[in-house]
Amino acid sequence: MKPDLGRLLEGVAARIIAQAEELTALDSAIGDADHGLNMKRGFEAVLADKANILAKPLPEALKAIGMTLVMKVGGASGPLYGTLFLTLGKELPEDPTLADLARALTAAVEAIKARGKADFDNKTMLDVLGPVARHLGDGTATFASVRALAHQRAEATVPMKAIKGRASFLGERSIGHMDPGARSSELMITTLCDELEACA
């Protein structure tokens, strides 16, 4: 696979920006009503920096994306998604295979866990990112299966009680709502699959 990074970036950014209100609405229910705004601000900054990013080799481009997210998103999601892209940049070769991707995403998930002192089943983005990383490495992944898993894992955060993140302040009242970060992770992953499939 040799997809166009510019197109991937634009696709993911467009999707996040388009769904910003939904993400904010999810965050209103169990957080502070800013997740969509944060992500939109971050990806708008990434788009603004696109020329610079695309001039770099993949690892450096990913690091640049990560740094932009760290410096523009703020909140909990900024350092965490920043860490995701920074780690991918550190772990991926210039021309990655699916196995490289699985390994790098697994490393990124570990880095997010460390940064946020969180674990799986805490009702966070990790509940989408972790299972997807594992599935990428299990030899059965297809575009469709990855999309389905991301969707299913985001849905699976609905009945969870939040242990980490702002929703944890709600205790039992966090149950019954989808985690906004899980949903934004799902959106990024499914959009990536869509774009990659279209190039394939």
Binding site: L37, V70, G74, P79, S168
Partner: protein, 329 residues
């Protein structure tokens, strides 16, 4: 949404510019609006830096000045600032005696301040405030939120810093003040984040939120509107249950408005809370009433009780000269 604003995209920038212009004798706003700093710094002193999401004014920018902070980093509304802000602020105000970050216990704030600390390459320590008893404290969760007690930490540590105390001593003092401060809040209405355009939560005409946070996060439970005395009683009971030190120390009683509540009601709540403390034999040594740690336009208030000792009293009383808090000079 009814607000005194122009474009929602410019609310923060225009408000910061107005703040800096109105208080140009005391503070300066960084050109990129990354931080607010004291106009004149004091050499050799540990630099105190705080910050957090905007919408809590005067916290934190309003507490920059003699006797409190050296700089404050304003994030977007209710969103923690980004590491570049704290790095730039530290660069601007570090006098060589080290930097103390005062951070409210939210994961966003913790992680952004932590990344700043890692990237700044300076001598930085952190005090984390977590005074909100509405949330259960637990090792396995995020734990309690930092709310209005943060003002008390900034005031007392700020006064100590002026006397030349070193970084480790200030960190310990901050942790002590935090441990001896407990708060709880209630909301009568939701706040409205400008960019969101509608209230964060909706409350019935006869409902209130008991144990609300300062971001309009839902609280412990939603209940029918209660009389002020009953509200104060429940808050004081929850606070004292978690503040052993108040049994044997005089306290500061701080009644804090959330932005949409007028002084008349805050003083009525002070009356109610002081009564609840008196009935339990707790002696009030110092008082503060006003809207200092707000949640945009939310109607409601929080109570903070800090168990004082002699050192804390003398630092509380020490002169302070900031846009938001001023006495003795």
């Amino acid at each position: 949404m009814k607000k005194l604003i122009n474009d929602v995209a410019n609310v923060l920038a225009e408000s910061l510019d107005g703040f800096a212009a109105a208080h140009a004798d005391l503070v300066q706003l960084d050109e990129e609006r990354k931080f607010i700093r004291r106009k004149s710094l004091k050499g050799g002193k540990v630099a105190l830096i705080s910050g957090g999401g905007s919408g809590h004014e005067p916290l934190h920018g309003g507490f920059v000045g003699h006797g409190m902070l050296d700089a404050a980093c304003p994030g977007q509304v209710f969103t923690s600032p980004t590491p570049d802000q704290m790095i730039a602020a530290a660069e601007a105000v570090d006098q060589g005696a080290g930097v103390l970050f005062i951070v409210k216990n939210y994961e966003g704030d913790l992680m952004n301040f932590e990344m700043a600390k890692e990237m700044a390459g300076r001598d930085i320590e952190t005090v984390i405030t977590n005074d909100d008893v509405a949330v259960e404290d637990s090792l396995y969760t995020t734990g309690r939120r930092g709310v209005a007690g943060t003002l008390v930490v900034e005031k007392i540590v700020g006064a100590a810093a002026e006397t030349g105390q070193d970084l480790q001593t200030l960190k310990s003092l901050g942790e002590k003040v935090n441990k001896r401060s407990r708060s709880m809040g209630i909301a009568l209405t939701s706040c409205t984040v400008p960019a969101a355009g509608k209230p964060t939560f909706s409350l019935g005409d006869d409902e209130m939120e008991m144990g609300v946070g300062i971001h309009g996060e839902p609280g412990r439970r939603r209940v029918k509107l209660m009389p002020a005395d009953a509200i104060a009683e429940e808050m004081i009971v929850a606070i004292l249950a978690d503040l052993e030190a108040a049994k044997s120390s005089p306290v500061l009683l701080f009644v804090n408005g959330f932005g949409g509540t007028p002084a008349m009601e805050l003083y009525l709540m002070y009356h109610a809370a002081a009564g609840a403390l008196a009935r339990r034999g707790v002696k009030i040594a110092r008082s503060l009433v006003g809207s200092y740690v707000t949640s945009l336009d939310m109607a409601g208030c929080s109570l903070t009780v800090t168990a004082l000792d002699e050192e804390m009293i003398s630092f509380w009383d020490a002169p302070v000269h900031t846009p938001g808090l001023r006495w003795g000079m």
